[in-house]
Amino acid sequence: MTTAANRFWRQTEAVLVELPADVRLHRDDFYSQPDWDVFQMRYTSADGFRLFAWLSVPLGDGPFPAVIRMPDYASVHDIVYTPLRERAVVMNPTFRGQRESDQAFQAEFPGLLTEGIEDPGSYVMRRVFADALRGFDALLAQGQAEVGEVAVIGTGLGGTLALAVAAHRAAVKAVAANTPMALGNPASLVPGLAYPLAELDDYMRLYSDQKEAVKKNTADLDPLKTAGKITSPVLLSVGIYDTGSCPLAFGEKLAAKIPDCDLRVYHGAGEGGGHEHAQIQLSWLSDRLGLG
């Protein structure tokens, strides 16, 4: 990892250490199911932002394996159905600006990827990574469910956040990342990409004097810079026609940097395998978490 990226992650951790997570849970009677309870979870992240997560807990005694589904680049991170919820704790954390975590700041889509990008201190995406780390910490800190081994999964930005959490939290047991967003890598800055990465080119086209700032202030977030620190097995999917999140060449470089990576390349556009890979991922996660 470069010195600058090292400094960024050290500062991020230092900010989080100073702030208690202050986790609060509230059972949601409306969305709870006969087989699992649903909780609304709130906790504190960097800058004092209160963040929201959906947490589902199977009925019965723990410890339960857990799956954290990191949020993609979108406004809503809803109560995602997964068959694992009958047997595993499932957490859907949000980052600042998403629905339910937008009291102080409401993110725009498109728009968030360049919000405050002219300065590292104001660039929101740098704090989004802090929010991801804090989500993992909050799951371990909550007292409602006894949690066993934890897998972190995500698609697009969620895939990148999942990899970042695994690089900085050794307790992560497994990672499943689909088409992780190349934010921070030079591959994200070329013209002609699709959204969401195209937001960066939009910004550089309109504010041509900010090109260097865009490169500099995103560079620390490049997943390639932390990939080597991941100790857990990673299931990584990419699509050969993807130009909006994880261009193929970037995905292949990323896979090569991760010590234990199972790379699956699909002929789909941006979804990294779609339905076929969803089945593979479910089976892979079940094996890693001992869910059979």
């Binding site: 969305y31 979108a74 809803d78 995602v80 159905y81 889509f109 086209r205 779609g274 339905h275």
Partner: protein, 312 residues
């Protein structure tokens, strides 16, 4: 995974209320009494050499201000053919520069509750599907559907748009809204409805435990004495009841392993169509992820657009 036989064997219990047409005629009449009041503002950040992007606002049911992304070809004089793109349940409407680059204007509607249209109505996700279910008059989707109808009105009002060449598309909720809006606005000349949501609510909420349909099951569990009234309200918003009222060619795309919108329910909407119809089945795909769907959608709509150009 559902089979084609499963689709053909499926029969919905949804019936059409006697006053269905009266209810929607009354809603459209209310809309006609509200000034569209369109405002079109340039979005230089999203525009480029090939596409001019605008943020549009217009007024809809209840006087709510609705936003939309409006992408126009930068080259050519027009009038342009136009596609109205309806959004999914929880996703924000995309900026569709891809179509505009190919000479087609696109209006991508942020129906009420979406970020750009949420200042006065914001039930959240989950939440929208059960918002105001107490009656057909208060149900949130009455407004959502009206916002789509007004999007068609906006396009029809524009000098740069050929009013005889307006098309519709969307997936999931956008697929359901494509069917419904096409029934309410004959200005739509053809549509592609992918993995349509908003079909056969009683069966859909019973077949799967995934959201958004599971919101209805949660509602029924929380308020068991209200379930009958809920299902009665939903009959006025079921795409199956709109389908026979569609006059234009329509494609319905269905993924046989769809885990969000049961394929049988989408097929029921297809079966209810009486206009020219096409069925695209994707055997090894789930909700919204058939690899070939986006290219098929584009090719089919382009063929419709070209055909209308030749005819005119």
């Amino acid at each position: 995974m559902a089979t084609e036989q499963d689709l053909q064997d499926f029969t919905t219990q949804v019936t059409c209320p006697d006053d269905f047409d009266e209810f929607w005629a009354g809603t459209l009449e209310m809309l006609s009494g509200i000034s569209l009041n369109p405002v079109v503002a340039a979005e230089p950040l999203r525009s480029n050499d090939d596409v001019h992007v605008f943020n549009v606002t217009y007024l809809s049911l209840g006087g709510l201000e609705i936003s939309a992304w409006y992408s126009l070809p930068a080259h050519g004089d027009g009038p342009f053919p136009a596609v109205i793109n309806f959004p999914g349940y929880k996703s924000e409407p995309p900026v569709r520069r891809d179509w505009a680059r190919r000479g087609v204007a696109v209006l991508s509607v942020a129906v009420r509750g979406k970020l750009k249209s949420s200042s006065e109505f914001n039930p959240g996700y989950p939440g929208l599907l059960t918002s105001g279910l107490e009656s057909k008059e208060t149900y949130g989707y009455r407004g959502v559907i009206s916002d789509c109808v007004r999007g068609v009105d906006f396009l029809s009002s524009r000098q740069e748009i050929d009013p005889g060449r307006i098309y519709a598309c969307g997936t999931s909720q956008g697929g359901g809204l494509t069917l419904i809006t096409s029934a309410l606005r004959p200005e739509i000349k053809a549509g592609v409805s992918g993995y349509p949501f908003l079909c056969c609510y009683p069966e859909a909420m019973a077949m799967f435990r995934s959201y958004p349909y599971d919101e209805l099951a949660c509602y029924a569990r929380a308020y068991p004495d209200q379930e009958e009234r809920m299902l009665d309200t939903l009959r006025y918003f079921d795409a199956v009841n709109f389908a026979p009222r569609i006059k234009c060619p329509m494609v319905v795309g269905i993924a046989l392993d769809d885990e969000v919108c049961p394929p049988e329910t989408s097929y029921a909407a297809y079966q209810a169509l009486t206009s020219h119809r096409e069925l695209w089945l994707f055997p090894n795909s789930g909700h919204g992820n058939a690899h070939e769907y986006p290219s098929q959608e584009r090719a089919w709509l382009e063929s419709q657009i070209e055909r209308s150009a030749v005819a005119s």
